[in-house]
């Protein structure tokens, strides 16, 4: 809060510069409080219902904007479906029943966590199959490589070369002493 800005608030000057920041802060808090109260009004009155609705709709895909959850989407259909979920919660339906309600209308696609069944086994276990496959290839490759280097080393060193190498090693030893 700079001194120059205070000039603009002519009416505040009588209150005194020291109290002004507090007053502004208070009015800010008050105003945001009012603004929030106005936004919250159309939402469900019941906090428990709202919490459950959010928890359920976070598991569901918005079919209009498919990369958004039902909880986070502003699409109109998402609003309708959230309202529908609220109604179902108030009718004492369980989470599983509400999930069934959605899946029976929009299919498994509406769920972010696909169910485990015959048509989704590949989806669930495919990555592990790929991992196992990759490990097998890796092990086979490493084995072959270590095997081939041994063979290559033995094959390329002739008796003459071996003698030379030993001579060099000996020389190195005597140098170090």
């Amino acid at each position: 809060m700079s001194q120059r800005n205070l000039g603009a608030f002519g009416a505040f000057e009588k209150i005194g510069v020291a109290r002004l920041p507090i007053l502004l802060l208070l009015s800010c808090i008050l105003l945001t409080g009012l603004a929030q109260a106005r936004e919250a009004a159309p939402l469900a009155e019941d906090v428990v219902v709202e919490k459950r609705m959010v928890a359920i709709s976070e598991e569901l895909r918005c079919l209009v904007c498919q990369n958004e959850s039902l909880a986070g989407s502003h699409a109109e259909l998402a609003q309708d479906l959230r309202r529908e979920i609220r109604t179902l919660i108030k009718q004492d339906k369980t989470d599983a029943e509400i999930m069934d309600f959605m899946v029976s209308r929009y299919g498994d696609f509406v769920r972010y966590r696909p169910p485990m069944k015959a048509s989704t086994y590949l989806l669930w276990f495919g990555p592990f199959l790929l991992l196992i496959g990759a490990l097998i290839v890796l092990v086979a490759y490493l084995r072959r490589r270590s095997g081939s280097t041994e063979v290559a080393a033995e094959a390329t060193l002739s008796a003459e070369e071996r003698r030379q190498a030993e001579a060099l090693l000996k020389q190195g030893d005597s140098d170090n002493k």
């Binding site: 159309p42 079919l63 209009v64 498919q66 109109e76 259909l77 309708d80 479906l81 529908e84 899946v103 029976s104 209308r105 929009y106 299919g107 498994d108 696609f109």
Partner: protein, 198 residues
């Protein structure tokens, strides 16, 4: 040479996956309702204030349920096809098309429904839908009014237009997401309808 064959084969496999995957339309979600009974409802009709419509009324007939709204741009593209179909084949093929006017007023982003009473909303729905059909032609045997979109939820509607083929026993046989095209109508829907008529 042989060592290049495996990466090359993998490359082509990848190309194959991409070619198929990138050509799929993620908006076309297979409906779980195909093969199941069309959800029942009771909705006011457009023409007659007192009358209601229920899918039960159509038992014994093969029919189309076409979900539409005047604010829906793709419906505008689809509409002439439906009008032409009814005009040309209306007498030859016994295939009534039932229009389901979906959230006519509240679906239109420019109207604030919280300021309109339910009675007024229904009235405005009637007015808008009737005016639009008078202007662009009416391909429907009748129109039902889903003012709040509640029936749309039961049918798994997530974008208009959508069209359902429903058989004589009231079972959904096909669902078209997005506008009908002459191709879909002639190659998919009409052969299916012929099959179901037997």
């Amino acid at each position: 040479m042989k060592r290049f064959l495996i990466p090359l084969a993998l490359f082509f496999v990848l190309i194959g996956f991409l070619a198929v995957g990138l050509n799929l339309d993620p908006r076309e979600v297979p409906s779980p309702l195909v093969g199941k009974s069309a959800p029942l409802f009771q909705l006011p009709q457009l023409d007659d204030g007192g009358k209601t419509f229920s899918p039960r009324d159509m038992l014994g007939k093969v029919w189309l349920l076409n979900v539409w709204a005047t604010w829906c741009v793709s419906c505008r593209a689809e509409h002439p096809l439906l009008v032409a179909f009814t005009r040309q084949h209306g007498d030859l093929v016994n295939l009534p098309i039932v229009g389901l006017s979906y959230k006519e007023v509240r679906g239109d982003g420019e109207i604030d429904v919280s300021k309109i009473s339910p009675v007024d909303e229904l009235q405005l729905t009637r007015k808008r839908a009737a005016a639009w059909l008078a202007e662009h032609g009416n391909p429907y045997a009748l129109s039902a009014l889903d003012v709040d979109g509640r029936v749309g939820i039961d049918y798994g509607v997530y974008g208009v237009p959508e069209t359902y083929v429903i058989d004589k026993a009231g079972i959904i046989r096909y669902k078209q997401i997005g506008p009908l095209t002459p191709d879909v109508l002639n190659k998919k829907i009409l052969p299916l309808v012929k099959e179901l008529e037997k």
